[in-house]
Subunit: 258 residues, 2 copies
């Protein structure tokens, strides 16, 4: 059996998230169906994370095992006619048998896109979160720095996750842009349920002056979810990049790298 990793991107708008589920169209199910049709056998695809309904991905990694004779690098072109236009596999490579797209992951980066102005932009509908209030990127960026470090993020997680520990390491948390358009960038060893969207919602509350950036350290100490900002909507969120643990080097030829 070969272990093949795919580099892919998708517009999440039409999907009930990554993970296969009954009676709902998901990205995993759509890709597994295309892979089954291509290889002639049912395929289990392991994704690098469970994105929520409406969340997008720019460079998502998934792997599957197959004894199909098609060389890994042919998969992107062979899958193209089998996939809808909102999912694209841009590269594929054969990887070591123990690589697992989710468990071998060392670090992930999400970005959250915001924009402001007198009226919503039809071209950004479901692609970024709109607010009518000008963005204060300096305030957001200095508050964002409070999220960096190894901390208990339970105040920034929705109920419903099934994790043993709520401690995570955020390597980087920044806001960049201007008063019309901004991107929040969060790199971490892992994300709790809704963590990226709650951090985005908290920074948006800081931008609007509804919350003081200086209160964020206290939110960590207190640990109560209700004191942090509201969960920002899914359509601003993009899984942007994945890094794997040492010894799991993915070299996607033809693509932009993972």
């Amino acid at each position: 059996m070969k272990n093949i990793a795919l580099l892919l991107s998708y517009v999440g708008t039409s999907y009930h998230g990554w993970q296969r589920q009954e009676n709902a169209v998901t990205v995993q199910a759509t890709l597994e169906d295309a892979l089954a049709s291509l290889t002639g056998k049912a395929v289990t695809l392991h994704g690098c994370g469970r994105t929520d309904a409406g969340v997008h991905a720019l460079r998502y990694v998934a792997n599957f095992k197959t004894d199909c004779s098609v060389p890994a690098e042919r998969f992107p072109a062979a899958l193209r006619p089998l996939l809808p236009n909102d999912i694209a596999v841009s590269a594929a490579c054969e990887v070591g048998e123990d690589l697992h797209a989710r468990f071998s992951c060392a670090k992930k980066e999400y970005i959250y896109k915001l924009y402001a102005g007198p009226s919503p932009d039809p071209f950004l509908y479901r692609r970024a979160h709109y607010t009518p209030y000008p963005l204060d990127v300096e305030l957001m960026d200095s508050a964002a720095a409070c999220f960096a470090g190894t901390r208990d993020f339970r105040a920034f997680a929705a109920a419903g996750g099934s994790v043993r520990s709520t401690v995570r390491t955020v390597y980087e948390c920044h806001a960049e842009g201007d008063e019309k358009s901004a991107t929040i960038r969060i790199t971490a060893d892992g994300f709790l349920y809704n963590m990226a969207r709650i951090i985005a919602g908290t920074l948006l509350a800081v931008s609007r002056g509804k919350m003081d950036g200086g209160d964020i350290p206290g939110l960590f100490e207190n640990g109560a979810r209700e004191n942090a900002g509201v969960t920002a909507p899914p359509w601003g969120l993009y899984l942007n990049r994945i890094w794997y643990k040492d010894g799991h080097d993915l070299t996607f030829s033809g693509g932009d790298g993972a």
Copy 2:
């Protein structure tokens, strides 16, 4: 009666073009219905041009006459709940009674968006034209210069237009970008039917080496449509900007200007 001009943008994907027609959803009909519901009377909206099915607009201008007491500057916010998410009115102003969005127009700019790469980008689906071949922007730009000037553009027009003269003045025609992503920009006093898309298709043929930029002057002399490039698809095309004749200054407060 007041004469009100609207500055608007739309994603053309779901529409059969600008112009109202039987049994098809168009941008004009959608806006006229919203205006009728807001003002309580049937409204005739004059658009600055007839964009084709699937073509987008970034800064489109349309005007209508009304005796409705709502001040012009309130229209954007009042129309928002009445319009779908792919059409937005960003500004409005009262204009002189003889301004007509189409007939008073002095100059229009269309842009055509192209991108290339090993596989299509789901986020650019129906928003730009994809080609698997790297773009030669230098070749395209030097060929683009051949379109500037006052010429007979009949070789670059589809049959079906109903114009008296096929002479137009192109003020500017440029290609900018790199081998992965490029924009063609065409500013003219008017455009014949499909003219912007045929110029884009011709420049794409030049980029691919299927046509020599040096042959373009001969296409004007010969005048035969079949010698020019194919009509590029509608989804790469955006009406970008409109300029009005002297004495028709539109000052949209709150918006980005027309």
